[in-house]
C-alpha cells in the first residue's frame, strides 16, 4: 500500500466518455434502489457514493467532482421520501474532497483506494447526519461501530468498482 504525495505535473488526469458519465451513475442509483429488495443486506452499501469517489479521484477536477457528486446525490434523494438535498449536499462535499485529494495523492493502487473510501464514507455519513438532524430535524442515532463496519464493506466493494471504472476511463 502506498499513498504518495505527487506534484501537479506528476498526476495523470483521466476523462470519461459522455455515455459512461451518464449511464454509470444512473446504473448505480438504479442498482441501489433495486438490489436491497432482493438482498436486504445491500442497504449497507452506497453504490452512488462509490461512483462519486471513483469519478472524482480519476478526473482530479474539484469542479467536476462536486457537480458530479451533487447530481448523483440529488438523483438518489429523489428516490427517497426525504427532502431533496440530503444526499446531494453530502456527495457534493465528498466529490469536492475526493477530487482535491486526488490531485495531491496517488490513488491508483488498491490500498490507497481502500483507505480513501473508508475516509470519505465516514465524511459522507457525518455530513448527512449533521444536515439531517440540524436542518431537517430527523431523529437519527450515530453509531461508530456501524459506520466503520459499513465503511469497510463499502471500501471492499469500492476497490472492485474502481477497477471497473479503470476500464472505461480515458487518458487526457
Amino acid at each position: 500500500m502506498a499513498i504518495t504525495y505527487t506534484s501537479g505535473e506528476q498526476v495523470e488526469v483521466y476523462r470519461f466518455s459522455i455515455p459512461a458519465t451518464v449511464l454509470i451513475p444512473l446504473a448505480a442509483v438504479f442498482l441501489q434502489a433495486f438490489l436491497p429488495l432482493r438482498f436486504p443486506f445491500f442497504l449497507i452499501f452506497d453504490l452512488p457514493l462509490l461512483v462519486t469517489i471513483g469519478f472524482a479521484t480519476a478526473r482530479r477536477n474539484p469542479l467536476a467532482g462536486l457537480l458530479t457528486g451533487g447530481l448523483i446525490g440529488i438523483m438518489q434523494d429523489a428516490l427517497t421520501h426525504q427532502p431533496i438535498g440530503l444526499y446531494g449536499i453530502s456527495k457534493t462535499v465528498v466529490g469536492f474532497g475526493a477530487s482535491s485529494l486526488g490531485i495531491k495523492l496517488d490513488v491508483e493502487n488498491a490500498g490507497a483506494r481502500f483507505l480513501i473510501t473508508i475516509f470519505f464514507f465516514v465524511v459522507h455519513e457525518v455530513v448527512y447526519f449533521m444536515i439531517a438532524r440540524g436542518l431537517v430535524g430527523m431523529h437519527m442515532a450515530w453509531s461508530w461501530p456501524h459506520e466503520l463496519l459499513s465503511g469497510v464493506a463499502n471500501a471492499v466493494l469500492g476497490v472492485l468498482v474502481f477497477m471497473l471504472l479503470d476500464r472505461v476511463k480515458q487518458r487526457t
Binding site: F34, P40, I131, V136, A141
Partner: protein, 411 residues
Amino acid sequence: MESVLGRYRNLIVLVGVLFAQVLGLAIQVKRTTPSEPTRLIRIWAVGAVAPLEKALVWTQSSTSNIWHNYFYLRGVRAENRALKAQIERMSLERVRISQDADQARRLQALLGFKEQFISLTLAAQVIGGSGSELSRSVFIDKGSRDGVKPDMAVITADGIVGKVLHVYHATSEVLLINDQSSGVGAILDQTRLQGILNGTPAGELVLGRVMSDETVPAGEMVLTSGGDGIFPKGLPIGKVSKVTPGSDLFLNIHVRPAADLSRLEEVLVVTKIDERQAEPAQTGAARAIDILAARLPGVPSKPENTEKAASAATATAPGSVGAKTPAATGAPKTTHAATPDADAQSKPKATPHDNGNGAPAARSVPNPESPAGDSSGPPSAKKATASSLSPKPVKATVDPKPQPDSPDTPH
C-alpha cells in the same frame, strides 16, 4: 480581486453549490404539506428508474413463472391433495365463522354500530426501493392511471405494509410502517390497550403511548385501531417482541411486523373502504318469522302457485342440495349444509342477505307448498326466502320431532 477569484474558484463554486442546495432543502422543509404537488425532479427520477425496474421485475417473474409452472412441478400432486383436504376443513370452519359473524352483526345492529370493511383492493408489484437505510419506502407498479391516491392503505395477506405517499402516472411510492416518519393507530388484541406505532431510524416498530403500569405480554398480537383514518380497524400489524420502559411514564413496546417488510414482492392497495351499519333485516326478529314459517305447516295455496313453486325450485337448483333435504334423506339437516358440495351448488342463489357460505340452500328449497318456496310470490314471501338463506335457521329447523301433519314431510 481577479486573482483571488481565480485562486479560490473551486472553493467558491463549492460554497455556491452547497448554498444552493441548502437553500433548496430549507424551502422544501418549510413547504412540506400534504397538499403540496410532487416535485418535478422526483417525477424525472422516478420516470427514469421505474421502467428499468419494471422490465427487470417482469423478466425475473416471467422466468420464474415458466420454470415453476411448466418445468418444476415436483410434489404438485401431493400438494393438490393436501390443499383439497384443507379446503374441506376450511369450508366447515367457514360455516361456523359465518354464524359467529352473523351473530356479531345482529349485536352491532342492536347497538347501532357502523363497521368498516375493505371493499376494493388493487394488486400491485413492488418494483424498487429508496436504496437508503434512512428512508424506508418502496415503489409499486400502479399509479394514478390505476386509481391509486395518496394516503391509501397498502397491505399484504400477512398484515399491513404502509401507506401511499406519492402517486405518479404509472408508479407510486409507499411509505413503510417501519419508517421513522410513519405512524399507525394500533391496539393490542387481548389487553385492548391502544397506542401509536412508530418506526425507528433502525427500521424497528415501537408501540408508544401505553402507560408503564400496564402489563403487556410478549407475543401478543397488535392490530390496527382504525384511529388513523387510513387503515381499517382490525388488520394485523405484528406481534409484541419485547417490552422495555420508555421515556416518561410510557412503555416502549417493540413489535415484530407480521408482513416481511424487507422482502416485499406483491402488495394490495386498499382503494375503497366502505362503512355500513348492520341491517335490521339480519336481526333475530326477522329470523323468528322464518323459523316460524319453516316450522309451521304450510298454508295450502292455489294449485297453480304450487306448480310454479315446484318448477321454480327445480329450475333454480337442479340436483341441488334440496334434493337431499333432511326430510327426504333422513340425515341431519346441518350436516348437508356444511359440506363443500352444498356450498358450491348454493352459490348462484345468493341474495344480499346471503353471506355466501352456501349452507342455506339446504333448507331453502324443500317446501313447494310453502309461500317461502315461491320465488314469484308476494314481497313478504320473497323476503322470507332471502332470510331463510342465512345460516342461523339451520339450527332452528333441526327438529327431532317430526310433525305428522306436515304435508311436506314424507315418512
